[in-house]
Every structure is written in structure tokens, then in C-alpha cells.
Subunit: 380 residues, 2 copies
């Protein structure tokens, strides 16, 4: 049989100027800037969104104009919000985002064009904030609120989601989470969206394709699955037994550990942990989860670190979301991941369509029956 | 720079027992049966849907049971139909299908399982009929009607779409169109859906991903674009001038011609043409389009046939849809393509997840700036 590129593991799909990963050393850079340096600098997520779309960090004027464009996206047609609220409150949060973007795909004309792609992209980043806030409120049975212009991206989102002013600590943590999940080269979600836009389908359909892939438990679902695993363990004192029974003896997969690309500590996991440490103070449930996670982490590294299996970005991110006040419910943590990642998706789409476009059309190897003569149903 | 597999052109994504294509000879087979033989036999599309899911043609009992399962899918929760009717009547038809399937993804629990995948698949094939009929009626401003059990798949769909009994000739033509578009290995739409389900996302999200890719003008949009091209030409007598100005001198792309895999006549194009010949009799507009298309075809082959560029399946399919009574409106022809293709998508998903599963995660080659030091905004 001809060779099959299973999982496209060693296949380069495109070039990129966005993200580079050194999986051996555990270094993640956005357009040449180490992610740790970006977080340390206290940059707004809007600065990094700008970097992804324009290739350079913005000055104050550029940032201001960019924020204005994002804020245009905060208002959405009623039928987009209805596409969310029409569905039951127990709906999956990422699928609700899919509905909202499919509603945009159904109604907003789009043609890829270097002159306008980035303006639309900024607006879509704004759309995503309004959509995700509406999704969050809907799954709690609350009326959607629109993000307001004025605050930063992280602040406006939290205020629209919670219906009250967030603390500075919450805003900073949300800002960091938004930066950390912004892009990671071409995982399944980005790949799905790239396949979509390679047909020159519109930007909204591309996002729908990415969301559909992110929804899966092997991808975006992992942050929620990791914390669900901690909930299942239940208590710090039970970790050692649980680990022995499930991971060592039971050979279960340790969720939030291991990554196709990283063979050492995922740098994002370290940062998520460092913000969790502070945020959990006011949230006993999150504090409990953090203690469980920390012990699981120790045992995991002791047992699997030598095989290059370390905590990945999803290991502590759920605890951060929980500390911020988001309950573990309806896959909302994956929807928060998507809120961040949408910028990476769009930036990859733009790179691909504008500068390296080719319809994505792989092949399959036929292994079925050779020639057969058709037998009518009366003779079967 | 490391090599990039542009468009994944020479990459084998998976093995398949479904469809095989001999692009040099223009032969398309479904599980070993030549598509021409299937059409000649007068088989129902349900027999071929069964073949795709179970690997063998059904006997009468098996077909009956399978049809029952499909018919279960004809009833949908109200909120799925509302996901369509909530949107403006001028919405894109494929995006409306996306909304309906995203609504299912939001609410129907799904776990891939060999014991149940095929039962759900049959029901999804039924869902797609109900959804597409509702989409068609909605874009015309009509109340959706539910397909009724009893008739064949093609007949029930046409009756639900048109709100009246179709003629036998219409049913036969629709049945043929449904078979011809059922699968074609791993084009962009199938690939997008495969990337989605490789994350173990649910079957509905997989279909949403496939629909998003099909929506693009370089893929499913081609059938509608081909006939739009004939409308633009306007009249049989204007073809020669149009062809000279646009294709020969103007170097425009001739829509409905050429295919990544076929280097000769696409066998489906021949069959679509043979049904169009009869169907156009009662539809002057479609007859006009057919005459234009036939002349474009002659000129196209004379000019480009030597380069392996021949009519593809989209060249005549739009004329068949128009003859059946579907107006050229809101991308509905692409939605009819999806109605057929959904079986191929699902069959590929099942092959992939059940027997050759691996998360699809390619790589990108970084070509951006090397290390940069982060400069805070005040110093930019």
C-alpha cells in the first residue's frame, strides 16, 4: 500500500510568521517575542492581536485605532444573538459559538482582499467577545449583555459576561489567558479552518470549521477534561491512590499531560500555574483543585517526565478560569479558549489566502474491493 | 526552508474502501462498482448510502430497515428548524445547513462507537433531507414542511421541498444526482470534516466543518458558479465571442472545467449531461442554459482538452437542478450537493475514527523574525 501520512504528523501545511515552537527546549515565541517576555511586560492582549495581524507591535495611535475597530464588532445583528438564545440552556458552549458564526456566514458577504481583511479581522475579534459573553450568559439562563467600548478587551469581555465590573486582578488574569491561548502554529482547529478557507469560503465559515475541531475532547476539550479529572479525584489526599490505580496500574491517559510538539514543560503551563497561585485565594473550590493538580503534576513528572511527557497548557488553565468565576459547565472553558484562539486562526487564514493560497485537496489510498459487477436488488 | 506540502496535493491522508478514481481514464467507482453501472441499474440512492456505510449492497430486508432508520431522522427538534428560520430569507443556503447541524452539535450527545455509529449515520442522512428541504423553503419565504415516510429518499425530499408530489422523472433525476455527488475521495470538504472528527468531536460538528469547506467557490460553489457563468453569457449565439474574450484572450478560468484528479472527462459530467438532455424539455430557461453550456463545452474541450482540462461534475449539474425546479438562488445548488455528499462525509468519518484514528496535527515552517526583545508600548 502507498504510504499514508497518519495525522499529517510530519507534513508541513504552510509557512508562518506567527508562532514558533521549540518543543525540545519548551520555548514558545510569537513573531520572535518569547511568550514569557510578553506576559512579563504587561502588554494588553490587543497589542498581541495587532502583532498577529500586522507583524509588528503597535504604537499608541495604532493601538487606539485597532481597539476602535474591535469595538465595532461588539454590536451584532439580533439574529446572531438569537442563534444562541434559540437553543436550550444546556447546549455545548462551543457549538453555540458555531451557531453564531454560522449565522454571520449566512448573511455577511465576504471576499478575501488584502485591503480589507485586517479590518474585518479586528471586527471579528470584537464579534467573538460579544458572542462568547452571550453564550456564557445563555448557558446560565441570563439575558445576554453587549460588551461596552471604553475598557480593554479583557475588561469589556468580563464585564459583559458577569454583568458587573471585574477586579483589576481578574482583568489581568483574563488578559494573560487570552495571550497564552492565542496561537499555537497549526493544531487541528487551525488546520480545519485553513482547509475551509482554502476553498475561498468566507472568514466566518473558516472560524466555524476551527470551532468544530476545537470542540473535540482531544483538542480544546482538554482544559475542561483536565479539571474534570481533578474534580473526579475529589481531594488532595486521594491523589496518590488515584494516580497509582488509574495511571500506573490502569494505564489511563493523564489528561493535561503530554503534547505532540513539546517534549518538556509547556511554557504556557508554567505561566498558567503562576497566575493560578494568586487567583485561587478567594475561591475555595479552585484552591482545592489547585492542590490536587499540584500533586498530580509532581507524580506525573516523576513518572513520565523521562519520556518527555510534561504538563501542557490545559493542565492549569481550567483552574484559572474557575478562579475567575466561570463554573465548570457546558464546555465553557473551551469556548474561552476559542475567544483567545480566534485571532490566531484568522491570522493564519490571512497568511494562507493572501500569500500562499492553494486549495487543500489531499488523496486517499484505495483499499476496497476491486471491480465488482452491479447486481440488482431483486437478485441479492 | 523545509519543504511545504502545498495544498497537500501529494499527501495521502487516509485509506478508504469507499471511492476510487482513475483520473487518467475517467473512471469513478464506489466500493468497486462503476458509477455508470450503478446509475444504469436504476438503484435507489438508499442502496448506495447503505453500501457506503456497510460495505455491501443491501438485500430487500436490509434496505427496508435502513430506510426506516433514515426516516427517523425526518423529525427534528423545533429549535433545529428555528436555527434556520431565525435567519433572514436571503441567507446562504449552505450556511443555513451549518446552523441546523451546529444546533444538533450543541444539543445531541455523541460518542463514536462501532455499535451505534451507523444507526446515527442513517438518522443523520434523514436529518439532512429535512434540513435541506426546510432551508429551500425558507429562502423562498415558505414555511418548512417535513419529509414524509413512505416514499423513497429522493421522492420524500422533493415533496417536502416543493410541497407537492414530484413526477417520476423528477424523482429519478434527483435520485441520480444524489448518487453522483455522494462521494469523491477526500476533497476539501471531506478533509475539513476529517480534521474535525480526528479530535473526536461529534458527528454533527464534523458535518458542520465539511459544510463550511463546501461553501467555498473553489469547491461546492462551483456548480452554482458554472450556471451563473451561463446566465452571464446570456445566449447561445454569444458563446463564441464570450469564450474568445474571456477565456482565450482574457485568461479567465472556465468554471466547471478542470479537476485536480481527473485529466479527462469526469464520468459524472457525462451522466449529468445525459439527464439534463431529457429534463430541460419543460423548462425553457434550463433549455437555454443547456444550449449555452453545450457550446461552451465544445469550445472548452477544443481549446483545453489537450492539456487534460475537461468538464467536471459541476458543469451540467446546475442545469439539472434548475430543470428540477430549483431556482438559481442563495447557493441552493451547493446545498443540494451537500444533501448528497453528507453520506460520503460520514462514511469517511467512520472509516477514520473507527479504524485509523490519529489526531490530525500537521506542522508549519516558521519564516518570521528571529529573537526579538519586547519593547513596552511607551517606548515604541
Amino acid at each position: 500500500m502507498e504510504q499514508i501520512s497518519k495525522g499529517l504528523e510530519d507534513v508541513n501545511l504552510k509557512w508562518t510568521k506567527l508562532t514558533s515552537i521549540d518543543g525540545e527546549k519548551g520555548i514558545l515565541k510569537y513573531s520572535g517575542y518569547k511568550v514569557e517576555d510578553i506576559i512579563k511586560s504587561g502588554a494588553l492582549v490587543e497589542e498581541i492581536q495587532y502583532l498577529f495581524l500586522y507583524g509588528e507591535l503597535p504604537n499608541k495611535k495604532q493601538l487606539f485605532d485597532f481597539q476602535k475597530k474591535i469595538q465595532e464588532g461588539y454590536s451584532l445583528p439580533d439574529y446572531v444573538i438569537n442563534a444562541i438564545t434559540n437553543l436550550p440552556n444546556n447546549s455545548d458552549s462551543v457549538a453555540l459559538q458555531m451557531n453564531a458564526f454560522a449565522a454571520l456566514a449566512a448573511t455577511v458577504p465576504y471576499k478575501w482582499d488584502k485591503q480589507t481583511d485586517r479590518d474585518v479581522a479586528a471586527k471579528v475579534v470584537g464579534n467573538m467577545s460579544a458572542i462568547t459573553a452571550a453564550v456564557y450568559r445563555h448557558i446560565l439562563g441570563l439575558q445576554p449583555l453587549r460588551p461596552e467600548s471604553g475598557g480593554s478587551y479583557a475588561e469589556s469581555f468580563l464585564k459583559a459576561a458577569f454583568g458587573k465590573d471585574p477586579s483589576q486582578e481578574q482583568v489581568d488574569a483574563m488578559n494573560t489567558a487570552l495571550i497564552l491561548y492565542m496561537d499555537h502554529e497549526v493544531p487541528a482547529s487551525t488546520t480545519a479552518g485553513l482547509v475551509v478557507v482554502s476553498t475561498l469560503a468566507d472568514i466566518y465559515s473558516g472560524i466555524v470549521g476551527s470551532l468544530a475541531a476545537l470542540k473535540g475532547p482531544l483538542h480544546g476539550g482538554a482544559a475542561e477534561a483536565a479539571i474534570a479529572q481533578f474534580v473526579q479525584i475529589g481531594d488532595e489526599t486521594k491523589v496518590d491512590d488515584w494516580f497509582k490505580q488509574n495511571i500506573i496500574t490502569g494505564k489511563s491517559r493523564l489528561i493535561g499531560f503530554g503534547h505532540r510538539v513539546y517534549k518538556t514543560y509547556d511554557p504556557r503551563a508554567k505561566i498558567f500555574k503562576s497566575i493560578a497561585v494568586n487567583l485561587i485565594r478567594n475561591n475555595p473550590e479552585a484552591e482545592k483543585m489547585f492542590k490536587i493538580a499540584s500533586r498530580v503534576e509532581e507524580l506525573g513528572i516523576a513518572n513520565m517526565g523521562s519520556k518527555g511527557i510534561y504538563p501542557n497548557t490545559d493542565f492549569f488553565s481550567g483552574i484559572v478560569y474557575m478562579s475567575l468565576g466561570f463554573p465548570l459547565k457546558n464546555n465553557i472553558y473551551t469556548a474561552l479558549f476559542a475567544l483567545s484562539r480566534v485571532t490566531g486562526w484568522i491570522a493564519h487564514f490571512i497568511e494562507y489566502v493572501e500569500e500562499q493560497h492553494r486549495l487543500i485537496r489531499p488523496r486517499a489510498v484505495y483499499t476496497g474491493p476491486a471491480d465488482r459487477s452491479f447486481v440488482p436488488i431483486d437478485q441479492r
